[in-house]
Amino acid sequence: MPELLQFLFSGVTVGAVYALVALGFTIIYNASDVVNFAQGEFVMLGGMLTFVCHAAGLPLPLAALIAIAATSAIGVLMNKLAIEPARGAPVVSLIIITIGASIFIRGGAQLLFGKQIHSFPAFSGDTPLRIGGATILPQSLWVIGGAVVVFIGLWLFFTRTLTGRAVLATSNNRLAAQLVGINTNFVMTLSFALSAGIGALAGVLVTPITLTSYDVGLALALKGFAAAMLGGMGNPKGALAGGIMLGLLESLTAGYLSSQYKDAAAFVVILLVLFFMPQGLFGQKSVDRV
C-alpha cells in the first residue's frame, strides 16, 4: 500500500510539472490556433533567469518576479519580431516559426548562460513530508498548487472577463473580431505575454525539482504538448487533467510493469485516446457553420 501511494505521489509530482507546461500552451492556442513550440523555452528562461538573479544576490521571490517579467517581455518581442510580420500566413507556417524561435532562444541561452546545469533552493526546504508510509517533497506541493492556481486563473479569464472572450473571439474569426471593435493586435501581444509569463512561472516552480540547463525546454515542451493533446488543446481543464494523467501513467507503468516501457506505455495510451476522441478528453469539436 505505501508502495502504491509512493507511485501516485511520484506520478502527481511529475504530472503537475507537465500540467503547468501544458497550461502555458492554451492562451496562444486560443488566440491564434498556433501551438507555440517555444513554450518549453519560456519554462527554461523562467528557471534560468531566476537562478542568475538569485546567484547575483537577489532574494528568491524578487528573482522569480524579475524572471517572469523578463520572460513575458521576451514573449512580446517574439510576437512582434517573428509572428506579427508573418500575419496572414497559414497556421502551420506560424507553428514552424515558433520552432525557429525556440531554437534561437535555446542557442542564445547557451551562449549567455553556458551549458552547466543549475538549480536554486526549494521554497520550503527539502525535508520530505511523510504520509501513510510514502514521502513527497514540499516543492511538489508548490508545483501542484501552482498548477491549480494557474488553472483557476485561466478558467476565470476565459469565461468571466471581456478580455478573455476577446481572445477567444480573435481565434474564432479575426476579421469579425476586428469588426466588433476588438484590437486583435493587442490580443496577440497580450496572449504571448501571458503564455510566456505562465511558462516562466512553471520554470520557477519546477526548477528545484527538475534542475535546469539551456536545453531542458525541448523535453518539457514535448511532454507538455502531449499532455495538452491528451486533455484537449486549448482547454485549461484538459491541460491540467492531461498533465496529471500523463504523469500517473508513466509512474504506474514504471512501478508495476517496467521503467523501460514507461514512455512507450504513456504514448500508446495517448494514441488510443486520440484515435477514439481526436479532440482529446475535454476538447470541443470545432463546428463550421456554413
Binding site: F7, V14, I117, T135, I209, L211, S259
Partner: protein
C-alpha cells in the same frame, strides 16, 4: 598599375614564404563542443585552446609553434568523419585529438587509420582500443574499469546483492551494459535493474521498487547530467538506508552542489586525482600536473575543472611528450613515440603505453571517493 600588381604579387609571395619558413606543428581536433555531448566537448575544447596558447608562449615544441585547428562536430558521427577528412586533406595536420563521444571517435578512427595519422580519442568505450589499431590511442579509462573499481569496493564491504538504476542516455546505457558484463567476476548479483530518462523529474518510483526488492544491499547509478543528482535527492527523500554508488560521469564538484551536500553525504564514486587536487600528498606523481591544470583552467574559464577536460589535457600532454621525444613532427614518428610513452603523469592517471596497450592506464588511476560534509574524501 602594372607596378602595383607586381608589388602586390611579390608581397603575397613573401608572406606565403614567411609562413612556410617559420615551421609549425599542425594539430587537429574534432570535439562535440555543442549538442547533446556538449558537457564533454565544451571543457575539452576550452582545455585544448588554453594548452596550445600556453605552449606557444613558452616557445612551442622543439622550437616550433603549435597550430590547432578545432572543429565542432556537435556529437554527430557523420560530421566527425567529414571533419577528420578535412583535417587530414585540407589542414594537413600531423595528429588528431578528439572524438568526445564513442560514436564520433569510431568515425574519426577509420579515417585516421586509413591515412596513417595518429589519433588520440577522448571517449570511454573499450572498442576504440580493443583490438589495438596501430594509429589509435585514448586517454579516458573505460566504463568497464569504472564498474570494476566500484565492484572491488563493494566486494571489500561484503556486498553481494545490488540494485541498479541507470540513465537511458548513451553514457548510462553503455556503463549499465559493461557493469552487467563484469559483475559476475566479483560474485555480485544484480537483483533489480531499473532505468530512467535523462530528462525525468522524479525517480522515486524506480527507487521504491529497488528498495522493496528483497535482499538488495547497495544501489549503483550509472549516468551523467541532472539524472544522478535527482536520483541522489530522491534516495534521501525515501530515506533508503543502503550505500549509494555513482559513476565517474558525475565526478565533479557540480554534482555535490546540485544534489545538495546533505543528500550527497556518503555517496561513493570512482574519480580521478583532479577532484582531490588539494588532498594529494606532496610526493604523488600526479600532483604537479593536476595542480597546474586546475589553477590554469579555473583562472581562464571561471568554472571548476572536471574529469572530461582532464581527458583532453592528457591527450595533448601525451602528444607533446611524444613529439618532443621523437624530435620530429612526422605522423609515423609521432605514432611510434606515443606507443613508447612511459610513466607519464597526467590528470587522469599515469600513462604507460605499449604495442598491446593503447590506453596505458590501469585500475589504480581511479580513486574511490566518498562525499563527506560536502567535500570529496579518499576511501582507503
Amino acid at each position: 598599375m602594372q607596378k602595383t600588381l607586381t608589388t602586390t604579387a611579390l608581397a603575397t609571395l613573401l608572406a606565403l614564404g614567411a609562413t612556410a619558413a617559420s615551421a609549425e606543428i599542425r594539430i587537429g581536433a574534432s570535439l562535440s563542443a555543442t549538442g547533446p555531448a556538449a558537457f564533454l566537448g565544451d571543457p575539452e575544447a576550452k582545455t585544448l585552446e588554453m594548452l596550445v596558447e600556453q605552449i606557444n608562449e613558452k616557445g612551442g615544441i622543439n622550437g616550433e609553434e603549435v597550430a590547432l585547428t578545432l572543429y565542432d562536430d556537435g556529437g554527430d558521427p557523420n560530421k566527425a568523419r567529414t571533419f577528420a577528412t578535412r583535417l587530414i586533406e585540407d589542414d594537413e595536420v600531423v595528429a588528431i585529438i578528439g572524438g568526445s563521444t564513442t560514436g564520433t571517435s569510431m568515425s574519426i578512427l577509420s579515417v585516421a587509420e586509413d591515412n596513417e595519422i595518429p589519433f588520440i580519442s577522448l571517449a570511454g568505450a573499450i572498442e576504440i582500443i580493443d583490438p589495438v589499431k596501430p594509429f589509435t590511442f585514448k586517454t579516458p579509462h573505460t566504463d568497464r574499469m569504472a564498474c570494476q573499481k566500484i565492484f572491488e569496493d563493494m566486494q571489500k564491504q561484503g556486498i553481494t546483492k545490488i540494485g541498479m538504476i541507470s540513465g537511458t542516455d548513451g553514457f548510462g546505457a553503455s556503463m549499465q551494459a559493461q557493469c552487467k558484463e563484469v559483475v559476475g567476476e566479483y560474485g555480485i548479483e544484480v537483483l533489480a535493474d531499473e532505468t530512467y530518462n535523462p530528462t525525468d523529474a522524479d525517480m522515486t518510483t524506480q527507487l521504491t521498487k529497488i528498495r522493496n526488492t528483497e535482499g538488495v544491499q547497495a544501489v549503483l547509478n550509472p549516468g551523467f547530467g541532472q539524472g544522478p543528482s535527482i536520483v541522489t535527492r530522491n534516495y534521501r527523500q525515501l530515506a533508503i538506508d543502503l550505500p549509494l554508488y555513482q559513476s565517474h560521469g558525475v565526478a565533479s564538484d557540480g554534482f555535490i552542489e546540485l544534489a545538495g551536500a546533505e543528500a550527497a553525504e556518503g555517496v561513493r564514486l570512482p574519480g580521478t586525482a583532479l577532484l582531490i587536487a588539494d588532498q594529494l600528498p606532496a610526493d604523488d606523481p600526479q600532483k604537479p600536473v593536476v595542480d597546474a591544470y586546475k589553477a590554469a583552467f579555473e583562472e581562464k574559464t571561471g568554472t571548476a575543472v572536471g574529469t572530461f577536460g582532464g581527458y583532453a589535457h592528457d591527450a595533448f600532454l601525451i602528444l607533446t611528450d611524444a613529439i618532443t621525444r621523437a624530435g620530429s613532427a612526422e605522423p609515423q614518428a609521432i605514432r611510434d613515440a606515443i606507443e613508447q610513452t612511459s610513466g607519464l603523469a597526467g590528470t587522469t592517471g599515469v600513462y604507460t603505453m605499449s604495442p598491446e596497450n593503447h590506453l596505458g592506464l590501469d585500475l589504480s588511476a581511479f580513486r574511490m571517493l566518498e562525499i563527506k560534509g560536502g567535500e570529496w574524501a579518499v576511501v582507503e
